[in-house]
């Protein structure tokens, strides 16, 4: 599937941020070559995956409340099929790192990530998760969760508006939709 074919209801392709990254990403994946059968199969699988991202209920601070708002009536991420927040990492597909990760929490986040079943995705929500945010100069704050686990989408804001998180989730959907089942992104596994 070419990048331009990825359809997300409501927002045209051109209006999304960071299309260049996706194009590059697709090229990298294409380098392995793809069969016709697996191509169709991939599309089907990716359709399923991207529309059924079950988040892990994981929140450390302020962003967690906005994450809860997204789950509540007004923004309702159930519409996207992200409805079933799982409390057990084994059953979750995406971990939304909502809040600051400090040194004491870092091993636990890492462990949670390791406990999740493939395919798993990470959204870094808010300044704290992206870079340490307000506390980036502190003696015990991890300056960005990408130092611990591979992050798929960064959602800036402090905390981001619920709509911004929904937008971030759609970005993740777009990324999932170009993936290959057979030739998984090697970079991610090496990390």
């Amino acid at each position: 599937m070419e990048v331009k074919d990825i359809k997300i209801k409501g927002i045209p392709h051109e209006e999304f941020n960071d299309n260049e990254y996706l194009e590059k990403y697709v090229e990298e994946l294409r380098a392995n070559g793809v069969g016709i059968v697996t191509g169709v199969l991939d599309d089907m699988i990716n359709w399923g995956r991207s529309n059924s991202m079950w988040p892990l209920t994981f929140a450390t601070s302020c962003c967690g409340i906005e994450f809860m708002s997204v789950g509540a009536a007004r923004f309702d991420f159930a519409r996207f099929g992200f409805e079933v927040t799982r409390n057990s990492p084994r059953q979750a597909d995406v971990i939304v790192v909502a809040g600051t990760i400090v040194d004491k929490m870092a091993p636990i986040l890492k462990r949670l990530y390791d406990q999740m079943a493939e395919p798993k995705y990470v959204i870094a929500m808010g300044s704290c998760a992206i870079s340490g945010g307000p506390f980036c100069n502190s003696y015990c704050v991890v300056n960005g969760v990408d130092k611990i686990i591979p992050v798929d989408v960064f959602v800036p804001g402090c905390p981001p508006k619920p709509e911004a998180l929904l937008y971030g989730m759609m970005q993740l959907q777009r990324k999932v939709k170009v993936e290959r089942f057979m030739f998984k992104d090697k970079k991610k596994q090496d990390k």
């Binding site: 601070s61 967690g64 409340i65 509540a72 007004r74 004491k104 929490m105 636990i108 307000p134 003696y139």
Partner: protein, 542 residues
Amino acid sequence: MEAIKQLILATAPEAVLEEKAHLTVTVAPDDLRALATALKNDPASRFDFLIQLTGVDEGENFSVIYFMTSTDDMTRQLVVKTYTTDRENPVLPTVSDIWGTALLNEREVFGFLGIRFIGHPDMRHLFLTERWKGYPLRKDYDASREANPVDVTSYPMSDHSETWVKGKDGIQHEKIQLFEEDDYVLNIGPQHPATHGVLHFRTALDGEIIKKIDVNCGYIHRGIEKLSEGLTYPQILHFTDRLDYLSAHINRHALCICVEKAAGIEVTDRTEVIRTIMDELTRITSHLLSWATMCMDMGALTAFIYGMRDREKIMDIFEETTGGRLIQNYNVIGGVMADLHPDFQRKVKAFIPYMREKLKEYHQLYTGNVIAVNRMIGVGVLSKETAISYAVSGPVGRASGLSCDLRKIMPYSAYGKVEFKEIVRHEGDCMARYLNRLDEIEESLHILEQLIDAIPEGEYCVKTKPIIRLPEGEYFQRVEAARGEFGVYIQSRGDKTPWRLKFRSPSMALVSVMDTICRGAKVADLVTIGGSMDYVIPDIDR
């Protein structure tokens, strides 16, 4: 006050008394315990409510500052100071058997400054891991990341604690076993839906019944107090919103008042009223969220969604005026950041009847429900004595019969001008706490009603100097946040940055009583009690 002074001098003749903003007593460590016992038990003083204790690195020595008040008269305040000059191996006597508050607070001081409290039954690090090198709040602490790099290895947790006691031949070190050999220990947290964040309860179970809880904090300890020491006062403001993010306005308000009082800045009446309105709106959102999450903890997901839905109305109001939903960054030193949005009054006025309607719905849906009632009544009873000992305040303290509403006791901003009821219940169980919150929403609406049409004209923000320096001294400001008493302690040495800044967190007191009130309850009750306590973890860990 004279009687108290005499009492102090009678118990500790060498104590130094100073009349600052509060009466301050400096006492040698050897006299501390005698003085503390006397202050707590003497009918003239009865300082039974230890608000907080703070450790400060004064340069040549370490001092610990005890800030106390009396439940007879909450306006009666006293500061007791003690110190140690030994920087290598500082020790001080504990007061944890006198005030329950000291249990966690002394552990905090130990973690931050390395002061060991002799006789404290559980001298572990509270926020940092045992492997942490250095004591962050010491002025000579090496804050670089090289000293303590990020480590993602999981280490097993020790089942032992330490204590130092005074024996025959000096101070002895002892190991304490936390759990019995055959205890079934269930780890609730750090990542668990019922802990409202990243708190860690190690729960010893007997079947479904809780035998003991070992609370572990620090999974979101961000070192705000240390960071503040390097920032100017306007810059520090942005941390306050992120402490207890559910009462962001109120925390920020506290720091603003503290700095304004210290710097002698007068704010306009308009500012005061705007701040009060915002505080009350924040309180409503906070209580709504607390109601919602408590219901969710007990398994009623629909109630959770209803609470969140109605909260959004206030979020809209906030967003329009302040430009932020949860973290508003609205109060600044000298006033507020922007004037009210033209739509503000109309929206708040529309909100008040709407919320009243919804409160009725909440009561119908949940308060009367036989399942909910049975799960809340008589569960997690917090007695008044325990509440006082652990300095529990806010809706939880008031549910145990402790009248501690600072808005009534020492009115700040516009609270002196409005009339409202202080909600006090005496049962001390989950139901009382639950009902207290809903009733407080009602009272907040009542305050809003009185203020919304009476916003005086004037400047919303007075001009302040570009660089704010506080004169040398110690400043302490207490306000009533949504979870209880929030305090800001600033020790200034005349710089534009504070020498030591400490936030008194209401949630810490709430968590410290969890072990006491959960014993004998069931696992499901732990969740209910946690929901009714409504602690916010980043507020504890700071």
